[in-house]
Symmetry: C2
Subunit: 515 residues, 2 copies
Amino acid sequence: MNDQNKNKNESWVQYISMSPPGLNDNTADVDRLTAQLKKQLDLQSIDMDRSLMVLLPQVLRKSNFNVRCVLFGSDNRYQLLDVQPSDDSLPVYGMAIDLGTTRVVSRLLDLCNQCTIIETTIDNPQGKIAPDVLARIHYTDQPGGLEHLQQLIIDGINGQIQQMCKTNQVDSAQIMCMSIAGNTCMTHLFSGLPPQSIIREPYIPVINQQMLLNASELGIQINPRAKIFVFPNIGSYFGGDLISGILALDMHHQTETSIMVDVGTNAEVVLGNKDWMIACAGAAGPALESGVSKIGMTAGPGAIERMKQDHDSFTWQTIDNEKPVGICGSGFIDLAAVLFQAKMLDIRGKFVPDQCKDRLLNIDDMMHFLVVPADISATGKDLTISQVDIDSLIRSKAAMYTILSTITQSVGMNLNDISKFYVAGTFGAYIDPASAITIGMIPDLPLNRYQSAGNTSIAGATRVLLSRKNIESVSEIHKHITYMELNVNQEFMNRFSAAKFLPHTDTTLFPSVKI
Amino acid sequence: MNDQNKNKNESWVQYISMSPPGLNDNTADVDRLTAQLKKQLDLQSIDMDRSLMVLLPQVLRKSNFNVRCVLFGSDNRYQLLDVQPSDDSLPVYGMAIDLGTTRVVSRLLDLCNQCTIIETTIDNPQGKIAPDVLARIHYTDQPGGLEHLQQLIIDGINGQIQQMCKTNQVDSAQIMCMSIAGNTCMTHLFSGLPPQSIIREPYIPVINQQMLLNASELGIQINPRAKIFVFPNIGSYFGGDLISGILALDMHHQTETSIMVDVGTNAEVVLGNKDWMIACAGAAGPALESGVSKIGMTAGPGAIERMKQDHDSFTWQTIDNEKPVGICGSGFIDLAAVLFQAKMLDIRGKFVPDQCKDRLLNIDDMMHFLVVPADISATGKDLTISQVDIDSLIRSKAAMYTILSTITQSVGMNLNDISKFYVAGTFGAYIDPASAITIGMIPDLPLNRYQSAGNTSIAGATRVLLSRKNIESVSEIHKHITYMELNVNQEFMNRFSAAKFLPHTDTTLFPSVKI
């Protein structure tokens, strides 16, 4: 079997030829089709809705028992979603969704040609009610709160569907399946499952297993028989978006050990290879997102995303080359690295007045470093970073490094043994690994081992719609992962304290960083 | 494990105790419950609707993780239908239905105490549109015909539900599951599946497999999450009512070989034991139902159900001891046996004028035998049987005997090897085996091997609601049965011709019949 046929065999769209019934072969219609499908695809079980059975006799006889089937499902238990005559069949679409707390990315896929047609991004409409996971869960404590949040995201996704279908002249009734990868809270809110226990000790989701939901029951406006695959979680703090990421990066097939890090308010980390996989999540602090320093912001037009030292002066680069408005995570890490290497920050991360000279300002009794003077900023005000902002960054980077070294040591490995270091998400797309190494946030590995992984969540969600093998991998990955609770015990705290220096108390861990 | 615990373990209502979650056991709610259920009941898979997941967190915490679950399903794949706190739970009901062409028998069952509460019977409301299978299928050829017939039976069953619930002060929302045993056409019409191919060569049902349908989708007014188990068919002419009958009689567990016969317009026969089972169906002719002779009728008040010879005169017994209106199948067989033994019928089944004397009347140029004179009949008219009626009965009894001997010989057995002979249905309840042997309709076995089996269809439908083991037996029986097409070839016709004598051309087959 060549690769193309292999891929065809992995598609959710399958062509089936049966011998027509006769007096010596009076197998019933449903039984005839499911038997042939099970044989052709080596399946354990295939189910069919009654509403499809009703249509089957006519389709089989009209097509002389040569039909095209659309399937979907997982764990070798599939649902037959549609049957049409082979010679006379309509396109089949799928929809992959990365359900982020902040943004929702949707992709319309052509399942026959196994390609993406269009991708759109919207702000998660639940953000209007409450910006983050915690606030949204609190909002569900009030009567109707859960239903309201669920309706907002359903409406948002329906809007994306409508827009993409209109632009591409696609009939939304031909979208037969959907995959949703999101963090545990977002998939609970999407599914209407009460999320309250997620944030309360002992932090219990309603469900960790993957789900196959009915589009019609949720009010998702695609084919009424369509099914929605919701990625499984590992726990309250390790969601389906990460499982989707592992799938996208193919970590579960690799012989060499790799690590994937997704950084937000929490750092989610998974380490492993084809034989084992260990995951953990820990608070990394808010320093790497917006909202800590006065000038901190998420990556957007005018955000300083990159800083360099050019002899005595600093140069920066903003998103869209606009006048600087603030600084995003990657710019902040660059800044700290630059200041440290210019000896303007000492190994404890404190401003060194002798080196900072007139860039150090005392504002409200606190030391501030002048990043961009008022006359060239977009705001007309000085853009400054305070000692408190730097302290916060140090704690975040120390937490990050401690989590990475803890998970690695838990399996008896050394950080140097990691052959590939994937940084997922927006953060991964902007961060300069050299700067992150300089401040001791990530291990001192050769730079070519670092790889920005992009939006692995949408990539994995896409994969399960393009291949049955990929959806089967999801439950394998899910079973495969050992979740490690990060015990914030004395040893962890000792490691954390040692990591609160630039780059680290043990400088031999960072040989490439010249101090 | 004693028998009572065994039975409890087989119930669809199960009590489950879980250890509550903690920081060292943060399994999600759904996963915790399904894992415990799978372990406790040794299940492969258990699914849960999203609408139940939504309720789960509160029920688990309110009950301190001690709950009562209601399950239903088959093939070791179950659906969790309800979860309530163990200490605080409502009754659970099920509904078993024998979906006959003529009559619909429904039983309301208490699934906690595993007993029947009430049984009701209605005429199948589809009978108003078309009396028999053939006419109903033809009716579905017209637009909306299938939907109309489906709605009639759904409404009929809903009426039974409503009445039984009202009488017994049961909340219909507490009926969580239903089982339906009927012939292939009736279950197709109930499920809204197009039945047209059932009666057209090569006679193909839409489905032979068992189904688990959603009550809400069909409009059956019980719990919206309730599931309906539809018994599988073997083919167009061997329906789920027979599978249900095999289950009820426990034929699939018996070491000795038994046979079950259900007689209507078709004779359906199944022969076998715990190791093998063979089935066939064949036209028995309408003589054993109503509608052939002018005085033929279905069993009802005033029908002659029993006839005997008392010296020179005949005595009869009518249903409800009313004045005779007509004669039903069992009475007709008795009559033929009596006439034959009185030598009023010869071995070809022809009236013997010398013996019949003045009871033989010539009406419209045809010989008629006077069964009941006008002065004592309920109609005020002579009740007579014509030579044509007798000829028709002879053909029916010959067909029956030929089918029985053909199926028995197909497995290399002799009719005498049958250790138990079950006669199902209303016919079985009334027929006198001695008379049927006398006319050579059924084999000349010791009378104690014959057993009237009653309504085995409702009995089997009840069984699957009372025990998981029984529902698992259904698919075992289904796989187990070999369906034999009755080839009406020269050999069959030879056998049929030999059986058209009273009792048979080969009188050594009927040693007990004194001629």
